[in-house]
């Protein structure tokens, strides 16, 4: 499955300025692994050492918070958009 990952501006210095990244995998966790492999500095800002979502970011698959849909086990489909937003925003 091919998914588009959208990053917040604060993370783009870890991706040579790229705001969106095409990535692949069957689940959100797979997609994150794919991206972490290609951008080693970005990896620790997406998932922690246990492989769980990094606590200061929230992942949205097609605008839905993945904490409501199974976290990293959430299944992705071709063309999905995965948005990453800092967790300490707003409120």
């Amino acid at each position: 499955m091919s998914v588009t990952l959208s990053l917040p501006a604060v993370l783009t210095r870890l991706t040579d300025g790229a705001r969106t990244i095409e990535a692949s995998g069957a689940t959100v966790g797979d997609v994150v692994s794919d991206v972490a492999g290609r951008f080693p500095q970005l990896g620790p800002r997406l998932r922690d050492e246990q492989g769980n979502p990094y606590s200061f970011v929230t992942f949205y698959l097609n605008d839905e918070d993945i904490r409501f849909t199974g976290g990293f086990a959430t299944v992705v489909r071709d063309g999905d958009e995965l948005i990453i937003v800092p967790a300490i925003a707003g409120g």
């Binding site: 200061f56 409501f68 800092p86 300490i88």
Partner: protein, 420 residues
């Protein structure tokens, strides 16, 4: 963004990450570039602090505490927000089983009738310091009112994003100031996520997103005023409503700052948090004590505090537990009774969040959290005229009479003596 001239009169303080300690220059950025943790203003520890007498001699606004606000120089906007009444309500003391009870009444906050005027007063001056020519927010209603009102007075365009299901009073209380108001199909959490993306795309000062480090400091003035108005002392317990969890965390910070400045002595107050049970992720986090916030999908009429994924939820729970306090949630029916009880005992008409605060205080009392010698302050943060829908069906209809004295006399005779 068309950058306007940076106001030479006001400067924003530099920032430090609360999570990893990394330091940065002053900037309209709330997230640490190293770890994505929250940034907080860095105050000069050696700055000269005012005495009680100096503070007392200053004007009745939150700027009387300017040494603890994240701006230096001469903030140009919103000079007269803050310093709302602290009102003792003797009739609530026996109901809570405590010695004394006060209401800190931000239902009459200037200019927009909620405590959000405080955070916006800080943020809009930070926007001035950075030369940002447009401000905005994601809001559950009160922040929208505060940003729209203060931006109008400052002459700044505003972009305001709210969920599409807010109360009529909250919508009118925003649109009257003619901002760019956008209603989003979804919950506040959807609006909030969108605004994080908006803040990244446009160079605006979104007060609770990229100006959040400065915004949050405004809430400390709620605590400063409580201490000063009690005669430079602390209450033993404070009950506050929670949405994003910023207010309750900043109350703790404010009390600690006055203690360490030597302005107040004695024990810090125990902090108690209040939410509606239809959206109580922070209360449940306090109860579990595991530090892992579980987001919720809100389902409550307390829309102003319906945030299912609170940005400061973990910090709020930590502040509460460290203070020796606790948290409680109440049903929508209980919060309505809370609104009525506050009106009948204090003569103060609060909105849904205030109903949650008083009803949660009663629940905390029932659970045994208060002591007979406690002195409790209830943080009433918003005005009841904004959420009149909440009371539909709860109030009796007033009788309609002909303009005839005999009819009034009949009515008085039929009315029970206790309510005459």
């Amino acid at each position: 963004m068309t950058a306007v001239a940076v106001s030479p009169r006001v400067r924003a303080l530099p920032l430090r990450c609360r999570n990893c300690g990394a330091e940065t220059d002053a900037a309209p950025v709330a997230i640490c570039a190293e770890c994505l943790g929250p940034l907080e203003p860095r105050y000069d520890a050696a700055r000269r602090l005012p005495t009680r007498e100096e503070i007392a001699s200053r004007g009745p606004s939150l700027w009387r505490y300017r040494e603890w606000l994240p701006l230096e120089g001469d903030p140009p906007y919103s000079p007269d927000t803050g310093f709302t009444p602290l009102v003792e309500v003797p009739r609530l003391a026996p109901l809570l089983g405590v010695a004394r009870v006060w209401v800190k009444n931000d239902a009459v906050s200037h200019p927009s009738l909620s405590f959000k005027d405080r955070v916006v007063a800080a943020a809009i001056n930070a926007a001035a310091a950075f030369g940002l020519d447009t401000v905005g927010c994601a809001s559950t209603g009160n922040l929208a009112n505060a940003v729209a009102a203060q931006a109008a007075r400052a002459g700044l365009p505003a972009w305001i994003f709210i969920p599409d299901n807010l109360e009529y009073g909250k919508v009118v209380g925003t649109s009257v100031y003619a901002p760019n108001l956008v209603r989003i199909r979804g919950t506040y959490d959807d609006v909030n996520r969108l605004c994080a993306q908006v803040a990244d795309r446009f160079g605006w000062g979104i007060v609770n997103v990229n100006l959040r480090s400065y915004y949050g400091e405004g809430s400390k003035t709620f605590a400063f005023e409580i201490a000063e108005q009690l005669g430079w002392r602390f209450p033993t317990a404070v009950v506050a409503p929670m949405a994003g969890g910023s207010l309750v965390s900043k109350l703790g910070k404010g009390f600690r700052e006055f203690l360490s400045a030597g302005l107040v002595e004695g024990e810090l107050p125990r902090l108690y948090g209040a939410q509606a049970s239809g959206c109580a992720p922070i209360v449940r986090l306090v109860e579990r004590g595991d530090g892992q916030l579980i987001p919720e999908i809100p389902d409550t009429i307390a829309r102003s505090i319906a945030i299912g994924s609170p940005a400061d939820g973990a910090y709020a729970a930590e502040s509460i537990r460290q203070s020796g306090g606790w948290a409680a949630s109440v049903s929508d029916a209980e919060l309505v009774r809370g609104i009525l009880l506050l009106a009948e005992t204090a003569g103060i008409f609060t909105e849904t969040a205030g109903g949650v605060t008083l009803a949660s205080a009663l629940e905390l009392a029932r659970q045994g959290h208060f002591r007979p010698n406690d002195e409790v302050v209830l943080c009433i943060t918003g005005n009841g005229l904004k959420t009149v829908e909440a009371l539909s069906g709860s109030l009796g209809e007033a009788p309609v009479l002909a303009p005839r004295l005999r009819d009034v006399a009949d009515l008085v005779a039929r009315t029970s003596p206790s309510s005459r």
